[in-house]
């Protein structure tokens, strides 16, 4: 219970911090809109269903963008500002201090989701169908949380690299492509498919699509949640090992 409260408080503070930075604030909304605009223009108005499907993908890509670009550098940021040691020295589990950060980032990405649909509606006349209005928020929340978990996994997986931020940027487009945000998965080579299945964003965007365009969103929601839980499990294990290694190798402080 205490851990959950800690995660909630950490999340709230992180969202607060991020919304105070113009860089995050402006860019987090504007950046995905560029890609959404390109996608809308490329699809044109000929195929409304493909366009709406792409619009869903375009709206979700911002969630991953903000998570991957900043998620990879989370731990280094804490180290740079000298707070990493304080987090480790506290009795709370280390994972519970890092997870809120990536969760907050994926949450901030949700701003762009709304922005994309407003933008698409106003400028490109894209309709916003709501096949399952009650399941949609559920699908969105599960997507955000599972993407946050993927970011968490990324953050602890890349921490050994001094230039983790570059890796974060690197993962932006591949996920957009492989998770079928803007392109139907059937178009990609067959060997890519198993990779897509392991990635929560694949199921997240499918769930949101089904909730908007029709179909049954629940299986995809379940799979997204499952992936997220798996990521969390692996990441918690990794983070414990990480802290132990850092205590042994003296890599917590920046000096």
């Amino acid at each position: 219970m205490n851990v959950l409260r800690l995660i909630a408080r950490g999340w709230l503070l992180q969202v607060k911090m991020m919304s105070r930075s113009a860089f995050n604030g402006v860019l987090q909304i504007v950046w995905p809109l560029f890609f959404a605009t390109i996608t809308f223009l490329m699809y044109g108005s000929t195929n409304q269903r493909a366009l709406v499907s792409a619009a869903v993908g375009a709206s979700v890509l911002g969630i991953w963008s903000s998570t991957s670009t900043s998620g990879a550098a989370v731990i280094q940021r804490e180290r740079r500002q000298g707070t990493l040691e304080l987090l480790v020295a506290a009795p709370a589990p280390f994972a519970a201090t890092i997870l809120p950060v990536t969760l907050a980032m994926s949450t901030i990405g949700a701003y762009s989701m709304v922005a994309t649909f407003v933008w698409g509606r106003l400028l490109f006349g894209i309709s916003v169908p709501l096949a399952h209005p009650l399941l949609l928020p559920f699908a969105v929340v599960v997507t955000i949380v599972s993407v946050g978990m993927l970011g968490f996994l990324l953050s602890v997986a890349v921490v050994r690299f001094r230039s983790a931020w570059a890796l974060g940027n690197m993962f932006e487009f591949p996920i957009w492509l492989v998770c079928g945000f803007l392109v139907p998965l059937s178009l990609l080579p067959g060997w890519v498919r198993p990779i897509s299945w392991l990635l929560a964003p694949t199921w997240g965007v499918q769930a949101i699509r089904a909730a908007m365009l029709g179909g049954s969103p629940l299986p995809a929601i379940g799979l997204a949640a499952l992936c997220g839980a798996a990521y969390a499990g692996i990441a918690i294990g990794l983070s414990e090992r990480l802290v132990r290694a850092a205590r042994r190798d003296a890599t917590l402080a920046l000096s």
Partner: protein, 322 residues
């Protein structure tokens, strides 16, 4: 039972050198230190930069694993029972890092209160008390990025006290603070000891250590070179004195002769502006001023003064010897 027990504690680092030919070098930062701190004691750890003070503290607060030896805080082992140790110790370091700049002081404190498992109902009261204690009440809603150095430092102290720890580790807490701020901070530290906290303090300011510490360990090159009360370290303030001689010109040659004089305990040479100052520590009863001056024959001698020994004299002598 001692609050802090340190036995034969070692820590070495691996330093990598070279880019193409990677060679790993073991650098020993702490080479076997022992000390104990009793409940309610204020224990000072003094030593030059790189002597191993911070490394020692980091082992004690579970941020670093010792490479050898053991340490227990309130009976809990810092390696095997890290969680128990973390619950009971507070850590404050000097400088302006370690805070979330884009959050208010209030948010910083709330977050760390949560990290230390302070019950939500208690948080508000506790934070309020601490803000009063460190004199930040009324400013707690401002973002930390606008804080002055002193305010940040006081916020650090408040953060370290959130969970009402039994043991506090203060790593150069007064560094970079103006004299009045530092004086207030020292008063707060003394007050903490009065209410029964055990404090381990590192500092570079000898008067500060002299004023605050019950006992001091001087650490140099990763080893404890002296341990005792400030008075003991000064070599018994009542039975000795210090002669300071200003010398213009090379003083090292003369210093060697002075060291050999009977009744001289230690000699150090300090740069003070144009002059070099020979600081001669003299055993009780000995009268060496004339002998010292004759050793300096040939150099231009300025002011000569006799004074009580300070902790700094003892410290400088100890560190030079190490």
């Amino acid at each position: 039972m001692a609050v802090i027990e340190v036995q034969d504690l070692h820590r070495s680092y691996r330093a990598r050198t070279g880019i193409l030919k990677r060679s790993v070098k073991e650098v020993a930062a702490v080479r076997g230190i022992d000390f104990t701190v009793e409940r309610g004691e204020l224990f000072g750890l003094l030593g030059p930069n790189g002597a191993g003070k911070t490394t020692t503290i980091k082992m004690l607060i579970t941020l670093l694993l010792p490479t050898r030896g053991a340490a227990r805080i309130l009976g809990y082992d810092v390696v095997a029972q890290a969680r128990e140790v973390r619950r009971r110790v507070g850590y404050v370091f000097g400088g302006d890092r370690g805070l979330y700049e884009r959050l208010s002081a209030m948010d910083n404190l709330r977050y760390f209160a949560q990290l230390y498992g302070v019950a939500p109902r208690e948080q508000r009261r506790r934070i309020g008390e601490l803000l009063d204690l460190v004199g930040l009440s009324g400013r707690e809603r401002e973002l930390v990025e606008g804080y002055s150095r002193g305010m940040r430092q006081r916020l650090h102290i408040a953060r370290g006290l959130l969970h009402d720890p039994d043991v506090l580790f203060l790593d150069e807490p007064t560094i970079g603070i103006d004299p009045i701020g530092a004086r207030e901070l020292r008063a707060s530290i003394a007050a903490l000891v009065d209410v029964g906290k055990t404090v381990l303090l590192t500092t570079h300011y000898m008067f500060e250590a002299d004023e605050l510490c019950d006992r001091i360990a001087v650490i140099a090159g990763g080893r404890i070179v002296a341990q005792g009360t400030p008075t003991e370290l000064k070599g018994g303030a009542h039975d000795g004195h210090v002669v300071e001689v200003e010398v213009y010109g090379p003083a090292e040659v003369g210093a060697r002769d002075v060291r050999a004089l009977a009744g001289v305990r230690a000699v150090t040479v300090e740069e003070r502006g144009q002059a070099q100052v020979l600081v001669v520590q003299v055993a009780p009863g000995a009268e060496v001023t004339h002998a010292v001056l004759s050793c300096l024959d040939g150099a231009t001698v300025g002011k000569v003064a006799t004074r009580e020994p300070t902790l700094e004299d003892a410290y400088v002598a100890l560190v030079r010897q190490a």
